[in-house]
């Protein structure tokens, strides 16, 4: 059975500026043992989508559609059931999560806490043992359980957060920019660790990042989001190497491939800013920044349709089979 499924998910915030649609109809699915990457700029709705899974959004957010975890809708389940699903069914590692550790509590105690909350029969001593084993799994010496967060480096703290996310053996892990603030080598260590867990334990992983090149190297499938919608979806490496939406192409070009002469002394980018979600343009929301837009793009908003094989694109130009990059 599909591990995680988003069915026509909408999230709308209501604030001083009225109703702001942050996520506008997302359909995505993830099988156990697979990695799904979600890419996009800040404000595209990717973190809102992640938070919606465990219902961590503020009260002002209105969520509709269905989010199924093992066939069970997370959006309608009772709070008691939801509490059980958090940590044991699915867990999240946030961006900069290392700042969310309790500064005055030892690491081991913090890793053991979710286990103790979810398993009333577990003794504190056993939980402490398991916490040490988890720290070892993420590449930290078990003696680190006695340390306080300030005694650890940023990379080590981020590993502690991953150990916590694993504490209750979840089936699904959501990593929201979990490695963005880390150095290249530490990022490689953490990514290696996470991919190892996916292979060895068959957990499902959703990786959210603004860096399409990292996703292409670690994910099976990638979805690119723009202004609250998925605009392109397909095998991760294909989406990065041969984008079928002009936005994915620009996002991919922002991170050069070392050794590729085309990107040498030629920083890629994309002029302009993402649209204000409260005032989206008519037609395709990417049109004002798009170099290949045609007349039709101003009139109607393109649906996410199959353009070839397993590739989906919400771009009229790509759907006509035309190239999405100039030149």
């Amino acid at each position: 059975m599909t591990l995680l499924e988003f069915r026509d998910v909408h999230v709308t915030y209501t604030g001083s500026r009225g109703r702001v649609p942050a996520v506008r109809g997302v359909d995505l699915a993830l099988e156990a043992g697979q990695v799904l990457g979600v890419a996009g700029e800040s404000g595209c709705g990717k973190s809102t989508l992640a938070m919606a899974v465990l219902r961590l959004l503020p009260k002002s957010a209105e969520v509709s559609g269905e989010i199924l975890l093992d066939g069970e809708d997370l959006l309608t389940m009772g709070w008691g059931r939801l509490r059980a699903v958090r940590w044991t069914g699915a867990s999240i590692v946030f961006q900069g999560a290392m700042h969310s550790l309790n500064a005055v509590q030892r690491i081991g105690r913090q890793v053991a806490e979710p286990m103790l909350v979810h398993d009333k029969d577990l003794s504190a001593a056993k939980a402490a043992k398991r916490a040490e084993a988890l720290l070892e799994r993420v590449g930290l010496p078990p003696s680190r359980a006695r340390s306080f967060p300030h005694e650890l480096s940023g990379g080590q703290r981020q590993r502690v957060m991953i150990a916590m996310a694993l504490a209750c053996d979840p089936d699904l892990i959501i990593a929201d920019e979990a490695t963005t603030a880390l150095d290249v080598m530490v990022q490689a260590q953490v990514l290696q660790l996470i991919s190892g867990l996916v292979k060895e334990r068959g957990v499902g992983l959703v990786m959210i990042s603004h860096d399409l090149s990292v996703l292409s190297a670690t994910c099976d499938t990638a979805a690119v989001m723009y202004a609250g919608k998925v605009v392109e979806q397909g095998p991760a490496h294909e989406v990065f190497a041969r984008a079928r939406h002009p936005y994915s192409a620009a996002l991919g070009a922002a991170f050069p491939v070392i050794g590729d002469p085309a990107s040498r002394r030629n920083p890629g980018g994309l002029a302009g800013d993402p649209p204000d979600p409260g005032r989206l343009p008519e037609g395709c929301s990417f049109r004002p920044r798009c170099a290949v837009a045609v007349e039709r793009c101003g009139e109607a908003s393109p649906e996410l349709l199959e353009v070839e094989g397993a590739r989906l694109s919400a771009c009229f130009v790509a759907q006509e089979g035309e190239p999405v990059v100039l030149g």
Binding site: G139, V184, M185, V186, D211, L251, G259, G269, D273
Partner: protein, 332 residues
């Protein structure tokens, strides 16, 4: 290339005393040149000393050994000398939101440098010129804007305009795009490249992102534990890295030109406990794989010398690399 506007560091050392009498050698012998019209990337992991090196190059940190000079004139310690120096060498900070005072307009933020340096003629003209060079056009439209009214990319441009207004020869930029979105990143990097090409500005860009170096830099220096371990033209260093540390860094990038990814275990050691011999040896994948047996006594006992200005543009501080290039030493 005239040497009268080159920023140079020779044998530069910066040490910090720690509690318990230990000494952290944050910068431990660095030779580096940045000339107008070239972009030099200084890359390394957090804690390798790259930000301390940048601060020392700007006279914000006092060197405990060696020397910083601009145009062959050593950097003095007096306020007056530092002020004159900073007209030529300007800092661009990371995190534009933190670098701008939220209660100052764009005009005041950019004009601040002029006021500090007592430049009073044609202030509006100079501010407008700096803003438009930083790509904020028409500049007058931005004069009265406050930072919160600008996008992240525009804020970073204001910070760059604040550095450009004094018409410096060299910019030192610490992680200029680290906090920016993918699309804005390209915009700011293009701006740095254009300033170099059109105005002959030199820049030292400090970053942990090797892709950035590939996008804009002419030369790159790789720093490990206070020391530059490899430097040279970007094409050579990044596509055919010779130091094992550089090879490991390049190998873990997506679509890397180095075939087998090498994920180093552990983290950068503490700068107060720099290993003897080659400082990279305890983490070196070549030593671990037994590929360096013939030079192992050197790796353990001899600190590879500080990379100096040399006839050869591509320099590597590694005993194994030296032995492989000079096989006579390998057979002994």
């Amino acid at each position: 290339m005239s040497s009268d506007k080159v920023l140079t560091a020779r044998g530069l050392r910066v040490e910090f005393g720690l509690p318990g009498g230990r000494v952290a050698r944050a910068v431990d012998g660095v030779d580096l040149d940045v000339a107008p019209g070239e972009i030099v990337a200084l890359a390394g992991e957090s804690g390798c000393g790259k930000t301390t090196l940048a601060r020392t190059l700007l006279g914000l940190e006092r060197a405990t050994g060696g020397e910083v000079a601009f145009g062959n004139v050593p950097l003095g310690r007096s306020t007056k000398a530092l002020k004159a120096y900073r007209r030529q060498v300007q800092l661009v900070l990371q995190d534009p939101s933190g670098a701008l005072n939220p209660r100052h307009t764009v005009y005041d933020a950019v004009a601040e440098g002029l006021r500090i340096h007592g430049i009073t003629d044609d202030e509006p003209g100079r501010v407008a010129e700096a803003l438009s060079r930083a790509g904020l056009r028409p500049p007058e439209r931005f004069f009265l804007a406050y930072p919160h009214e600008l996008s992240g990319g525009q804020r970073q441009r204001v910070v760059i305009a604040g550095a450009l207004v004094l018409e410096p020869s060299i910019l030192v930029a610490d992680e200029p795009v680290a906090s920016l979105d993918a699309s804005v990143r390209g915009e700011i990097l293009s701006l740095l490249l254009r300033l170099k090409e059109d105005a002959g500005l030199g820049a030292l860009v400090i970053t942990h992102d090797l892709g950035l170096a590939w996008s804009i830099a002419d030369r790159i220096a790789i720093m490990y534990l206070g020391r530059i371990v490899e430097q040279g033209p970007v094409e050579q260093v990044l596509t055919e890295p010779r130091h094992p540390y550089t090879r490991a860094l390049v190998s873990v990038l997506p679509d890397s030109p180095v075939a087998e990814p090498v994920v180093l275990a552990g983290e950068l050691p503490d700068a107060s406990r720099i290993p003897g011999g080659c400082r990279f040896r305890p983490r070196c994948q070549e030593v671990a794989a037994g590929n360096a047996l013939k030079v192992l006594d050197q790796c353990e006992g001899v600190d590879p010398a500080v990379l100096g200005p040399d006839a050869e543009p591509h320099l590597v501080a590694c005993h194994l690399d030296r032995a492989l290039r000079d096989p006579a030493r390998m057979s002994g």
